[in-house]
């Protein structure tokens, strides 16, 4: 049964009329048109769908939209400031050219932002541990680690 649910995403309130059990990811992508978060596994195993919940990076592919309504959600689209200036993590990923196909990039950027929110100056080992939930198949990991390191110094 569809229900009206109010979500707080990227600093704005959005009302959506959906089955409250629908995982947040589908609502972000299909109802709100936020295509940054990607469907990778639907099992919380790969991180492609990560968003920030109250500043913490977590997958959005299993959490029901009604539960997500209790939190402040930030997606990839919400990281840049109102003037379009990139978040330092986004900037560092561009500078390090830390992508190939880029399908996992949403998750890597969000997980890195989440990590730096908690640990502003992580070591390489802490970066690796912090991104443990993210799958990348192209093998850009080494660049990503450099990018997070760089972002932490910006």
């Amino acid at each position: 049964m569809k229900t009206l649910i109010t979500l707080r995403v990227n600093g704005k309130e959005h009302e959506v009329n959906v089955d409250p059990q629908t995982p947040l990811l589908y609502v972000l992508r299909n109802n709100l048109g936020l295509k940054g978060p990607k469907f990778g596994c639907g099992l919380s195993q790969c991180g492609a769908c990560m968003v920030l919940f109250d500043g913490k990076a977590n997958p959005s592919c299993l959490i029901a939209v009604e539960r997500a309504a209790e939190m402040e959600i930030t997606t990839l689209e919400g990281l840049a400031d109102e003037n379009g200036n990139l978040h330092k993590v986004q900037q560092a990923f561009v500078e390090e050219q830390a992508a190939q196909c880029g399908y996992c990039l949403n998750g890597l950027v969000m997980a890195s932002v989440g990590l730096l929110n908690e640990k502003p100056n992580p070591s390489d080992k802490e970066i690796q541990a912090g991104l443990y939930r993210n799958i990348c198949r192209c093998g850009v990991h080494a660049r990503v680690i450099r990018a997070v390191k760089k972002a932490s110094a910006l």
Binding site: Q100, G102, I127, Y132
Partner: protein, 727 residues
């Protein structure tokens, strides 16, 4: 160009109208900008097949290749920018699209730079010469006084955009033989690490993948998977589905079953419901319970001598030092991070498909035969998806979306596979067995060599025959199943690149139990892995340093330069206890990029191998984008290390059991080695395919490093099977 048509398409954003409205085809890049007409008379010999001068001052490059994450877009933009002395920022790229771009077959085999980029280079150089010539005639100013820069020609007192010089027409002249290639002489953009424009879009979430396409009225589909490759649908009581939220249609064609719903999550839930209702008859069982390595040897095989030189038999038999070894690689999966996806739209007997296929034209031909729709009525537009590393589910999902769209005309049908579908139904890189034997003379040089390998074919890409597409197996009409497919992929790099006077190479081609097709490097992965491990073993038998031993058998200066460089890069490395350093080398296809690699590994107390660092040296001839080349090479090294250490497709008697990232583990961040890649740029040489060069050597270097650490040879992959973690 007619501006009215252009504006019309722009208003629609991403083109979503029946192309009958627009003549044979319409075209747009992802933002709907720079829409140009296609032209049936496009001939690849002509400039306008590759390059269009746009009214807004930009240059539109038409490549018949797809962006797979390898960075082909920036590479072709750079070569065009160079020849036109115009910033790459002013160069847009239209990726493969039927009726619009040249038919360049598949984006595969590391050939995009060698073929597409070189065609574009020549077309752009020819365009420069024609444009300067035109301006010179127009203004009566000698060509020597004219300058072409950033889309503008100036000289004398004149200045015009390229579009104005052409008065709105396109360059239909033949490319011929341009007199100067700036890419060889100036190198303002070529050879530079020009950043990829798409990465700036990706970090903002502004880049549309095929998974992200949205059209007004678009509906969502899912397919219900059978229990196995040859299962037949028994009963399916669908009476209860009508009241299911969002239900639009159940499509059943023989044993092919799909559902269509208004919303994506409704389609997913519907597919779960139908999955519960469907009864399947299993069909043939898979050979579970027997070690696959043993099973493969029992299969009928087509045996062929691929190479034969000298009296290899006596050379081995009479050698003072003889050695033999057998190696194995399991089935490996592409395992794209984003499950395969396509959108299809059918109306008025015309079909449009948006796909991350590697070959828009071969897919179109195969869809035409599958659906019995004329090719001229099908338009396939290539839209990047998740990286594929070869032939994965891209074409299959496109065919499934098309089948469903034909049954549900008038609305765009989007189909994305779920994770378990991608893992369990894609065509894998086949398992292989590699057996080597050699004899060394008293100087420690190879005097006889024998190599036998067992492999399935390595490519069953769509080739016009419907059976190459997954859903064709389950339709009511019997299309058959693909056979061995492209055998040549198995033979790739089976001949050693080393100078050996007496040798024999023999292929044993079987048809294995699992679906298979091209996985990055094809047979070169297994062949190079085995040959390079065996070279290491022989070096040890000869009492020589493994790099020196290789150098003793190489007479190609470029190969020698790569190995010399890798030795230098690792000269300061001294492995500690339970650590080792291993090396490997190959020239991909024996004709493309040269690649030397070293790996530094560590073993923990459970015997689990971890790679600490890898070094690579790559010579791809003339380098177009050194950072792109490094990125591809680093990625190949990490991916190949993951294949070698972690990966193996597993199955039971029904079907594949590697269904997600837990049951098919690949490298995660904590397993990632440091990587360092150096590029040897040879401007005077041809650019060579590079994207697959790292695969085989990287796996061998890791395994050779394990020997250096432990004195034990690992010959079966993966090095760290799941069981090791359970000890």
């Amino acid at each position: 160009m007619k501006s009215t048509r252009r504006d019309f398409i722009k208003q629609l954003g991403f083109v979503s109208i029946g192309f009958s409205l627009l003549g044979t085809a319409c075209m747009s890049n992802e933002t709907g900008e720079n829409v140009a007409e296609s032209d049936d008379s496009n001939r690849p010999e002509d400039i306008n097949a590759w390059l269009r001068v746009m009214e807004d001052g930009s240059i539109l490059i038409l490549t018949g290749k797809m962006e797979l994450g390898q960075g082909i877009r920036i590479a072709v933009a750079q070569v065009a920018a160079e020849e036109l002395n115009t910033s790459p920022d002013l160069v847009e790229v239209n990726l493969a699209e039927t009726g619009v771009t040249a038919n360049e077959g598949y984006t595969a085999g590391s050939r995009s730079i060698e073929t597409s980029a070189m065609s574009i280079r020549n077309a752009a150089a020819a365009a420069r010469e024609k444009l300067l010539n035109l301006a010179s005639e127009k203004w009566g100013v000698p060509q020597s006084e004219l300058t072409l820069e950033n889309g503008t020609i100036s000289g004398g007192n004149e200045k015009m955009s390229l579009y104005e010089v052409l008065e709105g027409r396109q360059l239909r002249e033949e490319i011929g033989q341009p007199t100067e290639i700036y890419g060889k002489t100036r190198r303002k953009y070529v050879g530079q690490p020009v950043p990829r424009k798409d990465i700036s879009q990706m970090v903002r979430g502004n880049l549309d993948y095929v998974q992200d396409l949205t059209f007004p009225g678009m509906v969502h589909a899912r397919v219900i998977r059978p229990s196995g490759y040859t299962s037949k649908l028994g009963s399916l009581d669908d009476a209860s589905l009508q009241n299911f939220p969002g239900f639009l249609k159940l499509v059943r064609i023989g044993s092919f079953v799909g559902v269509i719903a208004e919303e994506e999550y409704q389609a997913i839930k519907l597919s779960w419901e139908v999955n519960d209702l469907a009864q399947w008859e299993l069909g043939d069982e898979l050979p579970a319970g027997v070690p696959l390595k043993e099973h493969l040897k029992t299969l009928d095989a087509e045996v062929e001598t691929e190479e034969e030189k000298g009296d290899w038999e006596s050379a081995i038999k009479e050698a003072p030092i003889q050695h033999k070894a057998a190696y194995y690689k399991p089935y490996l999966m592409h395992a794209a991070n984003g499950p395969s996806c396509a959108v299809a739209y059918f109306e008025d007997e015309k079909l449009q498909v948006w796909s991350h296929t590697q070959g828009v034209y071969p897919l179109r031909e195969t869809l035409a035969n599958l659906l019995e729709i004329p090719e001229a009525s099908i338009h396939v537009k290539g839209v990047p998806g998740s990286g594929c590393y070869g032939h994965n589910g891209a074409d299959d999902v496109a065919a499934e979306a098309a089948l469903l769209a034909v049954e549900f005309p008038g609305r765009h049908v989007r189909l994305q596979w779920m994770r378990d579908e991608e893992h369990r139904w894609e065509p894998y890189g086949t398992a292989m067995i590699m057996e080597l034997e050699a004899g060394l003379n008293s100087d420690g040089k190879i005097q006889g060599w024998k190599y036998d390998f067992w492999s399935d074919g390595h490519s069953t890409r769509p080739n016009g025959e419907p059976k190459t597409l997954l859903p064709a197996r389950f339709l009511d009409r019997d299309h058959g199943v693909p056979g061995v497919g492209f055998k040549g992929g198995a033979v790739r790099n089976s001949k050693p690149y080393y100078a050996i006077d007496a040798l024999q190479t023999t292929s044993h081609i079987f048809q294995g139990p699992l679906r298979k097709s091209a996985l990055r490097a094809l047979g070169a992965f297994g062949n190079i892995f085995a040959i390079e491990c065996f070279m290491d073993e022989l070096a040890h038998k000869a009492g020589k340093d493994p790099v020196e031993f290789r150098l003793d058998h190489l007479d190609d200066e470029r190969a020698i330069a790569c190995l010399d460089r890798i030795k230098k890069m690792t000269s300061e490395v001294t492995p500690k206890s339970r650590e080792g350093l291993g090396y490997a080398f190959a020239r991909y296809k024996n004709s493309a990029s040269y690649f030397a690699v070293a790996a530094h590994v560590h073993l923990n107390d459970k015997g689990i191998v971890k790679v600490k660092k890898m070094w690579g040296v790559i010579d791809s001839g003339e380098t177009i984008n050194p950072d792109g080349l490094k990125n591809q090479t680093e990625g190949g090294m990490i991916q190949a290390a993951s294949w070698a250490l972690r990966e193996e497709v597993q199955f039971d008697k029904e079907h594949v059991t590697s269904r997600d990232w837990h049951t098919y583990p690949i490298f995660r961040f904590e397993e990632i080695p440091e990587v360092e890649v150096e590029v040897i740029d040879r401007v005077e040489e041809k650019p060579l395919g590079a994207g697959e060069a790292a695969q085989g050597p990287s796996a061998a270097a890791v395994v050779n490093a394990v020997f250096d650490a432990t004195g034990e040879r690992i010959r079966d992959l993966p090095v760290n099977p799941v069981e090791k973690y359970l000890r």
